[in-house]
């Protein structure tokens, strides 16, 4: 999953002026520039511009929502099957709900629309009862059939969902997406029926190819949330060409989550309002949420300080981290993501593993983490962040070793008396933080290996294109997991993975990962995956640099906001504490933390259920 997204607002005022000049010069060229019609047309332009600016300014002064958070980038899609990013996930969590969701306090998969789940003894069949009271925002019931249709849609090749391959554990899933079976033989459409059936309106039965320990984690990922079939098919009929953008428009989109989309302005903000038809609406406290799009980290931070934004998730300027750590609104926690460099293993001399080992060993990770990032990031020597997920422990990766680096480098025939190496180029996407890290890495390679290193900065889209087409030497990358399972990391670098993007192919590695994916015995599974990761860390198509921490800046008054290793937050649980509750929660915290000013409502904002409980004299929930 991608993390950062950057862009520029390229159309400046100057460009607008130039455009006007073009029109004017065309008018003059046509020789009729003095005609009253043109004069009238040109005098209308500024008037129209002023009117437009005014209307924008007026619409901006809508009352502040109960909660405002920064999405960091405009979401690419509100269709859960198509979306594949962190900003998308935050909004989709508010709009949709699947069979399972995540407990924000610990990240565990917990039932949402599944009232009851039964797993067969062989681990191959799951039977779900869908909540009877669950409704779509237009009043339709959410049925088992909705889920069946959605599984089929997610797996269908025409949906092109990036999540489809994760669901190939369902019987018939791979055949549906690729038209081929696990051995690569073509199969006729419908020859292997999809293993999802609905015996009655509330019951959903899913049959798997092999025991899949992380199946419920998949169902808790936002990508498996259902969409409303009737409205989508209606949109496809009405707008055959651009239905995919039309059916997610406010007013048309039908969803089943705690919130509905009421308005949206691209690259500016989305307004979400409480869904009164949501089955658990009684427990939802916030009435409105604004999702704003501010790409610049410093601007977003300044707005947070001014109380205009209540939650900031993303890059905090590293120069401020040491000071922010003291406050009680910033508490970085281990996060399941790794920052690493991809190496283009198809390009000599980088195709030599000894060269890659030398590069790996000459990165000063400790300085990057402790002196530059400072928020608790840990040097990474493995692909799996923090070296462990659940019961899995990574094999110990090699540490920095400058002499070892030089030895490997000389063994490969380079170094002071060796062949010339050429210029190594580090590709990165526009961000000051990426640039600073690239400078520090380049400095190490220059100093210890004597390499000439050039940096190349590209805006997000061409950076992704260059990476996908292997048009780079070394490229900054990161991987944040979709669900907490090791296979989600290791499967990235299998030969046929579209996320591989290093040109590295290792049949032994592929076999180990594939075997482990369908193994019920967790101990044996971990063993296989450890072997696979050991191969990866020996061959090093990637150079791990650090393990992420979550970087939430959140108003201390907000409750129901957990810290979990996926940083998966659910607005359903959020509420504002009043002064008494805030005082109580602060008493529990570390005495060294400085209390920061809260901009949230002093009287708090509780869900209808909590209000009744509070009136009854009981304690607040949670």
């Amino acid at each position: 999953m991608r993390t950062e997204r950057q862009g520029l607002n390229s159309l400046s005022q100057a460009d607008l002026c130039r455009f006007t000049t073009l029109i004017a010069s065309l008018a003059m060229a046509s020789g009729r520039w003095a005609s009253p019609l043109w004069v009238a047309a040109f005098s209308l332009v500024p008037i129209a511009l002023v009117g437009w600016a005014w209307s924008v300014a007026l619409s901006r002064s809508a009352p502040r929502a109960d909660f405002v958070f920064n999405s960091g980038a405009e979401v690419s899609s509100l269709d859960p099957a198509v979306a594949n990013g962190i900003p998308e996930g935050r909004v989709i969590r508010a709009l949709y709900e699947g069979l399972y969701t995540r407990d924000p306090m610990n990240g565990a998969a917990v039932p949402a629309l599944a009232a009851n789940t039964q797993r067969s003894n062989d681990g191959l069949t799951y039977t779900f009862k869908v909540r009877k009271e669950a409704l779509w925002s237009n009043g339709d019931h959410v049925t088992a059939e909705d889920f069946r249709w959605n599984f089929e849609r997610l797996l269908a090749p025409e949906t092109a969902s990036p999540f489809a391959s994760e669901l190939w554990c369902i019987r018939g899933g791979r055949e549906l997406t690729t038209g081929r079976d696990a051995q690569g033989e073509p199969v006729a459409a419908g020859a292997v029926p999809l293993g999802v059936t609905t015996p009655d309106a509330e019951t959903l039965v899913v049959e798997l190819v092999a025991p899949t320990p992380h199946f419920l984690e998949l169902l808790a990922s936002y990508q498996t949330s259902p969409v409303h079939r009737a409205s989508l098919e209606n949109a496809r009929r009405r707008w055959p060409d651009d239905w995919s953008t039309r059916w997610t428009k406010p007013g048309y989109l039908v969803c089943n989550g705690p919130f509905v989309l009421t308005s949206r302005r691209l690259d500016d903000r989305m307004r979400l309002s409480k869904n009164e038809r949501y089955w658990d609406a009684d427990r939802v406290a916030l009435r409105t949420i604004d999702v704003v799009v501010i790409e610049d980290a410093t601007t977003a931070f300044n707005l947070y300080r001014a109380g205009e934004i209540d939650w900031l998730d993303g890059t905090i300027p590293p120069s401020l981290v040491d000071q922010l750590l003291a406050g009680d609104d910033f508490d970085p926690q281990p996060y399941l993501g790794t920052y690493f460099y991809r190496v283009n293993t198809t390009k000599p001399p980088l195709d030599d593993p000894r060269v890659r080992r030398a590069l790996y060993a000459a990165i000063n990770r400790v300085a990057i983490c402790d002196k530059f990032l400072k928020a608790g990031q840990k040097p990474a020597y493995t692909l799996v962040p923090w070296g462990r997920i659940g019961t899995y422990n990574s094999p110990p990766g090699k540490k920095e070793d400058l002499d070892g680096a030089r030895r490997e480098f000389e063994a490969a025939g380079f170094g002071p008396n060796g062949k010339p190496f050429g210029t190594l180029q580090i590709l990165y996407s526009s961000s000051d933080q990426n640039r600073a890290i690239a400078e520090m890495v380049a400095d190490g390679w220059h100093e210890y290996l004597g390499l000439d290193v050039a940096l190349e900065n590209q805006e997000w889209k061409s950076y992704i294109d260059r990476q996908a087409n292997l048009q780079y030497d070394v490229s900054r990358s990161s991987w944040i997991c979709d669900y907490p399972d090791v296979t989600n990391f290791l499967a990235v670098f299998t030969s046929d993975s579209e996320n591989n993007r290093t040109g590295w192919k290792n049949p032994e590695y592929d076999a180990l990962v594939e075997q482990a994916r369908h193994l019920g015995d967790l101990g044996q599974r971990d063993q296989l995956l450890r072997q696979a990761e050991a191969i990866l860390l020996d061959q090093l198509p990637i150079l791990p640099i650090y393990s992420y921490v979550s970087q939430n800046m959140v108003d201390p008054r907000l409750a129901g906001f957990g810290s979990n290793a996926l940083n998966d937050q659910n607005p359903k649980f959020w509420y504002w504490m009043d002064d008494a509750d805030l005082e109580r929660s602060r008493r529990k915290m570390n005495a060294r933390e400085r209390k920061v000013l809260s901009h949230g409502p002093k009287e708090g904002l509780y869900s209808p259920r909590a209000q009744i409980e509070r009136k009854a004299g009981g304690r607040t929930r949670r």
């Binding site: 000049t21 190594l424 000051d432």
Partner: protein, 360 residues
Amino acid sequence: MAEQSRWDLGGRDVDALYLEAQRFRGEPLSARAWSKLRKNRAAWFAWVFLCTIGIASLLAPLLPIPSPKTMHPVTRPAPPVWPWLDKTKGEFRVDYWNLNAFDARLVELRKSMYGKFQTGPWLGTDAQGRDLLARIVWGSRKSIVTALAATAISLGIGVAWGAWAALKGGRTDRWMMRIVDVLYSLPFVFLVITALALFDAPRANLGEALVNRDVVFFVVLGAVFWLTMARVIRGQVLALKSSEFVLASRAMGASTGWILRHHVLPNVFSVAVVYLTLTLPSVMLAEAFLSFLGLGVQAPAVSFGLLVADGVDAINALRVHWWLFTFPAVAMATVLLALFVLGDGLRDALDVRAKEPTTP
């Protein structure tokens, strides 16, 4: 009354007068411009200032400042230290990126002159512990070189295009100038992104030379900034075209190229020079702007734009590392201001029609 002679010599000897005329040397225009410039105090000061900056940045490897690249991992940028309170010990080491032969020689010379001595963080350090003074000096070098190269390119294209269009006249002129108009209306940033992407050919292996992004950058900037130059020159040449000496040449059958070389170019020289000094700061600003967006000069090289981008990052509601913003911004603003003042002064100095100062 005696009829006055047509050649009234005031009773002087013709031969003596002839000798005097032979001895008389008209003051060349350039020398007059020079003396006028010297009398314009602001312009002269700007000129001296720019020369100093130019020499200092050219000889940057020779100055006793640290390398702009040497990092000292620190948790936060160090504030400036007054030179007389500077207690840092000299610990200079040769730590540069790809020095050319000239710079490498200068570094050798510097080592023999000062040994290990280097100045402390007189202007503070940045987030990676690099010395800000050194970065400003080396950054000015990059910015100045970029501005000079791009301006030279824009001068070449602009003068040729504008002069040719004006001399040819008619349909050619109209079309050439329409092309300028169309190019003018293209958004600058898009143009640069497209051009940079076009030149960005992938390499098969690391031994192949990288596309020199600097050169691409000069060419792209030059290709954008010749437009105004072309317009200015065309206007000037249109005026020259109807002057007697051009008409005479034409009547004697001179070709357009000959007229261009012998009459037009020498006469538009002053205008070109003035416009040049005004283009320099614009190019410098554009370089800073593009580098600020991450499109221009690529790290680890440093330029004014990159330094200011770092500085802007340091401004926030919580803690301001003021030196990271102030010093690069002041350095850049002073250079730009000096260029504008000099350009203004040159325009006055080179204007032959301007009123002579009342000197004998």
